[in-house]
Every structure is written in C-alpha cells, then in structure tokens.
C-alpha cells in the first residue's frame, strides 16, 4: 500500500474508534472527562516509559489505561467529597498533566518523547514505523495497535450493549434493575483511555478530543437512535480523517490539525442544516407556525 493510503487508514481507524466511544461520552454528559483523560494520558505514557524504558505500544497502553482510570477515579473521589464536578475535572487533569510535563522535562535527555509530538501527534511518520515479525513487514505498527483497540472496543460494546445503553440514558433505572453502573462507568473510562493512547501517537492529545467529541455531537444532531448514532459518528470520523488528509496535502499543513478542522466544519454544517435539529429547519418551522 502507498504512503497516503496508510495515513488515511490510520486516520480512519482513529475516527471510527473515537467516534463510537464518543457517542457514549456525549450521551452520558462526560465529554469533559474524556478531555481530561486525553490530557492525563501524557503522564501515563511518561511513567510507562520511565518504568519500562521502551516505547513499545503495550507498555504505553497499560500505563495510559491505569492513569486514565486514576483520572476518572480521582474526579469521582473529589466529586463525592463535595467538589463540584467541573472543578473536580479541572483540578485533576491540570495537576496530573502538569506533573507529566515536569517529569518529561526533568528526564528530557533520556526520554525520546517530546511534548509537541504528544500534543499534535505525528501521523506523517506512521507509515515508516512498521511492525516486523520474523522478518516479515506487516505494515505500520500504529495501524495494528489501533485495529486491536478498535476490535477490543467493539467486542466490549457488543457484550455490554444493553447495559451501557440503559445506564447512559437512565442511570437511576439502571441502578434499580441491578446493572453495575459504576463498573460500566469505569469500563467506558478504560475504553476511552486505551483508545486515546492508541490514537495519541498518530494524532496527538487535542485531536483525540476532537475526534471523540465532534463526530458524536454531529451524529447526535442527526438521529434519535443509538445504533444509527454510532454508525453515523463512525462514518463522520472516517470522512474527517480522509478529508483532513487531502486538505493537509493541498495546503501543506498539519494533518491532525486539519482533521480536527474538517470535523469542526462538518459539525457546523450539520448544526445549521440538520433536517430535524438544525438551525435552519427550526427557523423554517417557526416561520410556518407564524404564517399559519
């Protein structure tokens, strides 16, 4: 496969995994928690490196998974000890992120990781960092990692679909009929963490947030059905990835940044034009009411 195809494949995988997880985050009103996790994952990666001295994907996944869960847990702890939830998120993610940055600069000489890379990602280098097993070139390792994470996510969602759905729409009822709501919460948070870290290397922390939130929010304006929302969100993720790649080629700009911008444009268009929840249709509906 050519260089461009690999990049588009990577971007699309990011778009699909993030798009699907993002829907649940939006429905559960936890978008900002995802934002927090995407920042604190930096600490997880740095710690994983300091412990294992390697940049292997599996260590990163474990480190980020642990820190992601820790973030969700600390937010929960602060919230239950009386801190309002937005402030709890703000305090936890900024301090963990600050700690990560400090570690990173304290060990700057030894860590082959730089902060800009972590923030903005370097999807351009993805195709060169290939996975070879027994001398066979199996394609970029990022693709393998993203693919694995996507499959894990899909399996988990398939297994717990009903539970996740009920606890997203009606947590009180879910608790009443005996669904382990806290378990589902932390399950989702660990899915967010591993998705974030898998996407992190290719697209960076901030774009992960864009890919988590924007496609889901767009899909939310287009449909009322959860399954449809998941599919639309994944498709929008792919479209922004591919569109972003071509836009970046044309104007010679950061690929990850342009993916986020394209996603933003798609959202803006949907926000205005969506047949049911768009600005325009609302205006028209109001007008027709007035003329009647």
């Amino acid at each position: 496969m050519s260089y461009g195809t690999w990049i588009m494949l990577t971007g699309s995988l990011v778009g699909v995994s993030c798009g699907i997880i993002g829907c649940f985050l939006i429905l559960r009103k936890m978008a900002m928690l995802a934002d927090a996790i995407s920042h604190t994952v930096l600490l997880g990666i740095v710690l994983a490196y300091l412990v294992s001295h390697s940049l292997e994907g599996i260590y990163m996944l474990v480190g980020a998974g642990i820190i992601g869960l820790l973030t969700a847990f600390l937010v929960q702890v602060l919230h239950s000890s009386g801190v309002q939830s937005d402030a709890a998120i703000g305090v936890v993610f900024t301090s963990l992120f600050a700690f990560g940055v400090i570690l990173l600069s304290a060990f700057a000489g030894k860590v082959h990781l730089d902060v800009n890379h972590a923030l903005m990602g370097e999807i351009t280098f993805i195709p060169w960092n290939t996975l070879t097993i027994g001398g066979m070139d199996l394609g970029p390792s990022a693709v393998w990692m993203l693919g694995t994470v996507l499959i894990i996510n899909l399996i988990l969602i398939f297994l717990f679909y009903k539970e996740i759905k009920i606890s997203s729409f009606d947590p009180a009822m879910a608790t009443a009929i005996g669904i382990p709501v806290m378990f589902i919460h932390y399950l989702l948070m660990s899915m967010v963490s591993i998705t974030t870290v898998a996407s992190f290397d290719s697209v960076g922390a901030i774009l992960v947030v864009a890919m988590l939130i924007v496609p889901g929010a767009t899909a939310y304006l287009l449909t009322d059905k959860l399954l449809a929302m998941l599919i639309i969100s994944a498709v929008i993720g792919v479209i922004s990835a591919i569109g972003g790649y071509y836009a970046a080629l044309v104007w010679n700009i950061s690929i990850s940044g342009s993916m986020a911008s394209i996603a933003g444009l798609i959202f803006a268009a949907t926000f205005i034009l969506s047949p049911r929840y768009g600005l325009l249709s609302k205006l028209l509906a109001r007008k027709s009411l007035i003329t009647e």
């Binding site: 920042h39 900024t94 600050a98 400090i102 901030i206 342009s258 926000f271």
Partner: protein, 454 residues
C-alpha cells in the same frame, strides 16, 4: 538553600517574572471565583485553548511577535469561542460539556493548522509561538510583564468597582434581571474579564494549564469561607502564593518549567485546603461524623433498651435483657454495643445482673426523653406537609423542646392515634424487676410514707 533563594531573588529577570506571575495569580484567582460559582470553570479551559488560533492569526496579520497584538487576537478568538459555546447550547440539544469540548478541540486543531502554516512561511520566526502552548515564564521580559501587570490591575479594578453587581448576577441571575441590572451586558463583561485573565496567563503558564489558574485557587478558597468577598480575597492570595512558589522553585531547579510547577503548587494548596480546612475539610468533616456516630450509637442502645422494656412490661416480664436480645432488636457491631453499654454503666444509666442488663431509674428518664423525641420526629415525617410551618431543614437537629406548645400538642395527639406514645414512665424503671412488682413495691413505699406522716 537559603543562599540560593537570595541569589534567585537578586536576579533582575526573576524579579520581573515573579512580579508577573504573582499579579497573574491574583487576577485569575479573583475571576476564577466567579467562574467557579457559576459552574463555568471549564469555560476558562475552552477559552485558553481557543486563544491559540487568535494568537496565530495575529502573528500572520501583523508579521512579528508582539505581545499586544497577541493579546488582542487571543481575546477575540477566546470570546468568539465562548459565544459559539453559548449558541450551541441555546440552539441545539447538545449539552454544555459537549459544547465546551467540541469548541475547544476544533479551535485548538485549527490553531495547530495555523501554527504549521506559520512554521513554513518566510518569516517563520515562530519560536515565541510554541511558548504559548506550554508557557515559558522564564522568557518573560520587562515589556511582557508590564502588559501583564497592567491588564491584571485593570481587571482587579473593574471587579472591585462592579463587585456588588457581579455578586448579585452570580448568585441570582433572575433577581438581578428583576431589579433592572443589564444581565446580558454583565454576562458579556464577566466573560471578557475571564478571557483577559486567561490571555495574560498564556505566556506564563500556557494554553493547557491556564485552566488550573482559574479553577484551583478558587476551589481551594471555597473551603475556607462561605462569603464571596472573603473567597475572592483568599483565592487571590492563593493564586499569588502559587505563582510565587512556582516561579521560585522552578528558577532554583534549573530544568523545571515554570507553568507546571505553578500549577502543582496550586494543587498542593488545594489538597491542604481539602484535608485541613475548618468545617469543610475532610478532617473536620470526619471528626464531626465520628461525634455524631458516637451520639447516635449511645441513643440507639438506650432506645433499644426502652423499646424492649416497653414490650416486656405489657406481658409483665422482667425488664432484664441479654446482649443477644438487644442485637436482634437493632443490629449493631458487638464491640460497639459493648463499649456503649460500658459507657452507659459508668454514666449510671444501665446496670447489669450477671449477663442481663437493665435501665436504672435515671437511665429510664434519659431513654424516655430520647424515645419521645424520636417518636415525635417519626410522626413529623409522617405528616411533614401538615407541619411545614416548622421549616425544619434536612440537616437540622430535631429537638421537641424547641417546638411551640400548640404544635407539640398536635404532634402528641397524632402520636397517640398511631399508638406510638412511650407508655412506660421512667419512674417504673429501677432494678429490672417486672412492672407489677415495681408498682406494688412503689405502692407499698407510698403507704409506708403515709403511715409515717400520720
């Protein structure tokens, strides 16, 4: 260590930076308090991220690095982002947190696009722009600090002048509107103030961590006081303190970046507040809880003894009870029951005959009071609407002695209707004998007294 500190303080550059970060801490602490109380802390985060494209655009248009134009660009795009967030919340079914995350990430992504564009352009002298992402307090020069402190002072003065209006607007927007305050204007003004605080902080602590400067000092201050004026002062002080600590620590340990160290100092202050603050802190809350549990356990034991005595007196059994009986009536840890019985024995309220326990006469009085109080409370909760005039809040301590006599009478009547009146009078407690025996012995005593007086 101390010499290091002196040396650091003598450095002119450090003095500038110190001055800048302290003023920044004060301004962001003060404005963060308002954002926090309006539950909009994370909007500050969005503003900070959204400032990036503004800074880049200012650079593209103006051509070189200029703090003044950067501030203007950052403020404009920050305000635009806030406006978008409001529009999305007001005109679609998307909730606040999603709207914030969406605008934040798209603006930041666009900022990165612009940043790469600048890097390739002719005058790609963009080294100063990268600083805005993580902040580079050490690179602050006299001119930057002058701008930062000028803006900070203006922000503080505006807040001081409009304090009453902002306070009213923060706590009760409807009321503020009702008495004719221009709430739309105030909202815009507050947003503009917060954006300005964010913007002047960008160079020192960076886009990502600026949110902490707004949130952490404010939430720490919230633990120390319930009054807005004091909270604002405390938050400003904490902001200044963390700015100072962060700057000094990072300039003494060479490799540490200032912004994150400032944020971590603020976090440490927050943790101290969270744990040790009077009234709201975890330690004092824990102590309070411990005290209440102790009182409740003691009351529970007395009440259980009374309940059992009441039942036993009907069938004329002895008023003596084993620990097992107490435990089956009301579940409780055995050790807790033991310690409470021991304490009550010391107080003279209960006594034991071998393995059986009974209420003494003074214990009877105490238990009767507790049971009466609790049963009246039960009746109150049954007829809560009827007694709404009591204005009893959830966390108030219920004490029937503070209730007016007519209401109390009503409650007592209802208690009689439900057959919950404590039937066993305290004077019938004593040695744990049966009610009949006690009554007859009391009668005998009475007769003896009468005979004597005759």
């Amino acid at each position: 260590m101390f010499n290091d500190l002196i040396l650091t303080l003598q450095d002119a550059n450090t003095q500038w930076v110190l001055f800048g970060t302290i003023l920044l801490g004060v301004a962001s602490g003060v404005l963060g308090s308002f954002a926090l109380l309006r539950k909009q802390s994370l909007i500050g985060d969005a503003m900070a991220h959204a400032a990036l494209p503004g800074i880049c655009l200012a650079f593209l248009l103006y051509g070189t690095k200029s703090i003044g134009w950067f501030l203007v660009g950052a403020a404009l795009s920050g305000l635009l982002a806030t406006y978008f967030i409001q529009v999305i919340i007001n005109h679609s079914r998307i909730k606040e947190d999603t709207a914030i995350g969406l605008v934040l990430s798209v603006f930041f992504g666009f900022g990165i696009v612009l940043l790469t564009k600048i890097a390739q352009s002719e005058n790609g002298n963009q080294s100063g722009l990268d600083d805005f992402i993580f902040g580079q307090a050490a690179s602050l020069v006299g001119n930057d600090v002058r701008v930062i402190s000028g803006v900070a002072v203006v922000l503080l003065i505006v807040t001081w002048l409009l304090f009453k209006e902002l306070k009213l607007f923060t706590f009760d927007r409807q009321f503020a509107q009702g008495i004719g305050l221009p709430t739309g204007l105030l909202n815009g003004l507050l947003m503009a103030l917060i954006v300005s605080a964010v913007v002047i902080g960008l160079q020192a602590v960076g886009v990502i961590l600026m949110a902490a400067m707004l949130i952490t000092p404010a939430i720490s201050a919230r633990y120390w006081t319930d009054r807005l004026d004091r909270m604002v002062i405390v938050a400003g002080t904490i902001g200044a303190l963390s700015g100072m600590l962060g700057t000094l620590l990072s300039s003494m340990a060479n490799r540490l970046p200032t912004g994150p160290v400032i944020v971590l100092s603020a976090t440490v202050i927050f943790l101290i507040s969270l744990i040790f603050a009077p009234n709201r802190g975890l330690v004092s809350k824990g102590l309070k809880l411990y005290r209440i549990r102790k009182i409740v356990a003691r009351e529970t034991v007395l009440q259980t003894m009374y309940d059992l005595s009441e039942e036993a007196s009907i069938t004329n059994k002895k008023l003596l009870f084993s620990k097992e009986e107490l435990l089956t009536r009301r579940k409780m840890a055995v050790r807790k029951l033991d310690s409470n019985l021991k304490r009550l024995e010391k107080e003279g309220y209960v006594q034991r005959k071998e393995d059986l326990w009974y209420l003494t006469e003074s214990g009877g009085y105490e238990a009767h009071e507790i049971v009466l109080n609790n049963r009246l409370f039960e009746i109150y909760t049954m007829y809560e609407m009827k007694f709404a005039s009591l204005q009893f809040a959830t966390n108030d301590v219920w004490d029937y002695k503070h209730i007016g006599s007519s209401t109390l009478h009503e409650l007592e009547q209802l208690m009689a209707v439900h057959e919950r009146t404590p039937k066993l009078e305290p004077k019938y407690f004593g040695e744990g004998e049966t009610l009949r025996k006690k009554k007859s012995s009391q009668r005998a005593e009475k007769r003896k007294k009468e005979v004597k007086s005759l």
